[in-house]
């Protein structure tokens, strides 16, 4: 098969900023993609996957600045799904997101309608067609962006950490559809999911500044490289019996209890009913379930960010106000940027401690420890210029310093490696506050490895 994309000896470096000295993201990188192939590129967070994907689509350095050298020969059109789907969605309904590029291309109405119908059908999200993108879950947003690609039909599809937050069945459906689409697919990820082996033809592992190619995803060499690179979790995938046993695990002394809780959004047909849910101090609970089943809604209620329509949310046996829940819960959002506002990472870390009126020497000591535990590389850098993974770690470090009773980690594993994600959970587990930890994840293996019990919402 002829190559649709050839990359020869490209090197790239962002401009430097105060407190954030730029380094070469990659040097003399070369690879090619065969027409109609599905290729997986594994690289750790911060290695430059997002930058590479945007270079291949011509967005970097045009919009960001920086120095790019080398040759890129792209023989077709290119479409991309960004790592953070919120950055790409700006229309008022899902249908308009799909239709917008077709209108911009000047296609006739009948053709637009035909392509939109087909795109929604193929990606299995017809039911989201007239919903507002802002109301969709992270996984649903990603499926919507794949629908946009499906409708616009470019020759090369680039998916930047797109499948991690899609539920297991959804991943299988989408990969199966991508495989049969006849398009050239490049999947950039930091996590080697088993399902990729079934569909991808070619695998690249980014090690020490260069790419190593494998053609067999089941080969010993590839598995060794994946393990050595920290792209997968150790241990076997849990079976249904293990998950059921973890669901049945009883909690002795719950710090938080939710009873007969009902919640519905105004102007939406979504509703959530939880009969019994509990979190125990020092224990980790994993909440698993399909995209859009209400995992994030439940955790927002626990953190006092949403008020249930009926039912009880009790902290240490007492019904408490939303403010009390706010003050006792840490919440690692899917998007780490909502709380960052200060000029340096260090100032962000200090802020919560200053609100507690702690003396400066104690603050300095605690912040120093947090920087070490969470591996914050540039404490004097503006958070807004840090990589996505570093911002996620910064968010975790901010909450770690607050030592709250409950820690909610909401699908926070995109942009960081499995190893780093587990390190974050361990850091909270070992903190002096000994919190109850709630992990929301689609990774059953991670849930089984890290959690003491599992709470399942809907099918997997």
């Amino acid at each position: 098969m002829p190559a649709i994309l050839s990359v020869k000896n490209i090197s790239f470096q962002y401009p430097s900023y105060p407190g954030l000295e730029s380094r070469a993201l990659f040097k003399d990188l070369s690879f090619s993609l065969e027409k109609g192939s599905m290729t997986l590129l594994l690289a750790l967070p911060g290695a430059g996957k997002t930058t590479l994907s945007r270079i291949l689509t011509g967005l970097v350095p045009a919009y960001t600045g920086g120095e790019l050298t080398g040759e890129i020969e792209n023989k077709g059109s290119t479409g991309i799904v960004f790592q953070n789907p919120d950055e790409q969605l700006f229309c008022s309904t899902a249908e308009k997101e799909v239709v917008f590029p077709l209108e911009a291309a000047g296609l006739p109405r009948e053709e637009i309608g035909r392509r939109a119908d087909l795109a929604f059908q193929k990606t299995g999200i017809e039911y989201l067609r007239f919903k507002k993108p802002v109301h969709l879950s992270g996984g649903e947003k990603r499926r919507l962006l794949i629908s946009v690609l499906c409708a616009t039909d470019p020759d090369l599809w680039i998916l930047d950490e797109t499948l991690e937050e899609i539920d297991i069945r959804g991943r299988e459906e989408i990969l199966s559809f991508l495989r049969t689409s006849g398009k050239t697919i490049l999947i950039l990820t930091a996590k080697m999911l088993d399902v990729y082996k079934k569909y991808a033809d070619s695998f690249f592992v980014y090690e020490g500044g260069s790419l190593r190619q494998f053609t067999d995803g089941s080969s010993r060499e590839f598995e060794d490289a994946v393990r050595a690179g920290g792209f997968c979790l150790e241990g076997a995938m849990p079976d249904e019996a293990t998950i059921k046993a973890m669901e049945a695990a009883a909690l002795q002394n719950p710090v938080l209890k939710v009873e007969d809780m009902h919640f519905s959004y105004p102007d939406s047909d979504f509703s959530l009913n939880i009969e019994n849910f509990a979190l125990e101090q020092g224990k980790t609970t994993a909440v698993i379930g399909t995209n859009g089943c209400g995992k994030s809604t439940l955790s927002h209620i626990i953190a006092g960010l949403l008020e249930p329509s009926s039912g009880k949310v009790m902290l240490e046996g007492k019904e408490v106000s939303a403010e009390k829940l706010n003050r006792n819960c840490s919440y690692l959002f899917q998007n780490p940027d909502y709380q960052l506002f200060l000029p340096t990472a260090r100032a962000e870390l200090e802020y919560g401690l200053k609100l507690q009126k702690l003396p400066q020497d104690q603050i300095d000591e605690k912040v120093k420890e947090a920087i070490k535990v969470f591996g914050i590389e540039h404490p004097e850098a503006p958070p807004v210029l840090m990589s996505y993974g570093q911002r996620k770690k910064l968010q975790a470090a901010i909450y770690w310093l607050l030592e709250k009773k409950i820690v909610i980690i909401d699908e926070a594993d995109s942009g960081i490696s499995s190893l780093e994600y587990r390190q974050i959970i361990d850091a909270f587990r070992q903190s002096t506050a000994d919190p109850a930890i709630l992990i929301i994840t689609h990774d059953i293996q991670l849930a089984a490895l890290e959690a003491d019990n599992i709470f399942r919402m809907g099918a997997l």
């Binding site: 945007r54 689509t57 967005l59 919009y63 960001t64 991309i80 960004f82 950055e87 790409q88 700006f90 229309c91 008022s92 308009k96 239709v99 917008f100 590029p101 077709l102 209108e103 911009a104 291309a105 000047g106 296609l107 006739p108 109405r109 637009i112 309608g113 939109a116 802002v134 946009v148 616009t152 102007d267 927002h300 953190a303 006092g304 960010l305 403010e323 706010n326 003050r327 006792n328 819960c329 840490s330 919440y331 959002f333 998007n335 940027d337 909502y338 709380q339 960052l340 506002f341 200060l342 802020y351 919560g352 609100l355 507690q356 009126k357 807004v384 901010i398 909450y399 607050l402 709250k404």
Partner: protein, 235 residues
């Protein structure tokens, strides 16, 4: 909530009516006449959104209204102050109702109907539809900031307005950072979607459930006549 008649009304007629109405609020007429102009707008707001969400819109201009009410009487008198306040309320309500009941896509088509180039119409539409997105970002940032307080942080009294105002500043800073950061990203997203590469088409053109001439006769002409009567007999 049942969709009010404003949602069914043609966006082009609504736009013209909104502009005529806005112009009327600048006419040299008495405060009573301003009040009479405002009454149907307020009624439409209550019917469209319900009284609580509609009134909450005016929270945003409350500081401006308070400032006007406390300073203007000393320079221009009570009557002029009332007129200015009613003008602010009227124009805010008109724009709110228009954008609340008009789909952004329809708004682009409306602007293009009146001859505005596609790119400019798109920029205006994205800017206006960005406001609700910013509001969502504000709510998310507000939630994230609430969680930075712990039990050991001193409680802030509901009536301590200075402390409450200070607690809003970090949220606003986060929203501002997000908004600025999103500018090049939005440009990238638009480029990726092929904006500006061809002459655009429209998938769902503006559709009137009630024919345009009927809408024209049913509400456009009567409202314009009422405005003209209120404005013309100003003396």
């Amino acid at each position: 909530m049942r969709k009010s008649f404003l949602y069914q009304a043609d966006s082009r007629l609504k736009l013209i009516l909104m502009l005529i109405y806005t112009a009327a609020f600048f006419c040299p007429i008495s405060a009573i006449r301003y009040g009479l102009l405002l009454a149907p707008v307020v009624a439409a707001g209550f019917i469209t959104c319900g009284w609580k969400p509609f009134l909450s819109v005016f929270k945003l201009i409350l500081p401006l209204l308070i400032l006007t009410a406390s300073v203007t009487p000393f320079f221009s008198g009570i009557h002029e102050t009332v007129r200015i306040i009613l003008r602010f309320i009227g124009i805010t309500a008109l724009f709110f109702l228009y954008f609340k009941t008009t789909d952004p896509d329809e708004f682009i088509q409306t602007l293009r109907f009146f001859g505005m180039p596609y790119r400019l119409a798109l920029v205006i539409s994205i800017s206006t539809s960005y406001i609700p997105l910013l509001l969502d970002t504000y709510h998310d940032a507000e939630a994230a900031h609430k969680l930075r307080y712990t039990e050991s942080c001193p409680a802030v009294s509901r009536w301590n307005f200075i402390a409450r105002f200070r607690s809003i500043l970090p949220v606003l800073a986060s929203v501002l950072i997000q908004a600025i950061k999103n500018i090049p990203i939005l440009a990238m997203a638009l480029e990726i979607r092929g904006v500006g590469k061809a002459k655009p088409t429209v998938f769902r053109p503006i559709q009137c459930k009630t024919p345009l001439y009927k809408q024209f006769l049913l509400y456009f002409i009567p409202i314009v006549v009422i405005i003209l009567i209120l404005v013309t007999y100003a003396a």
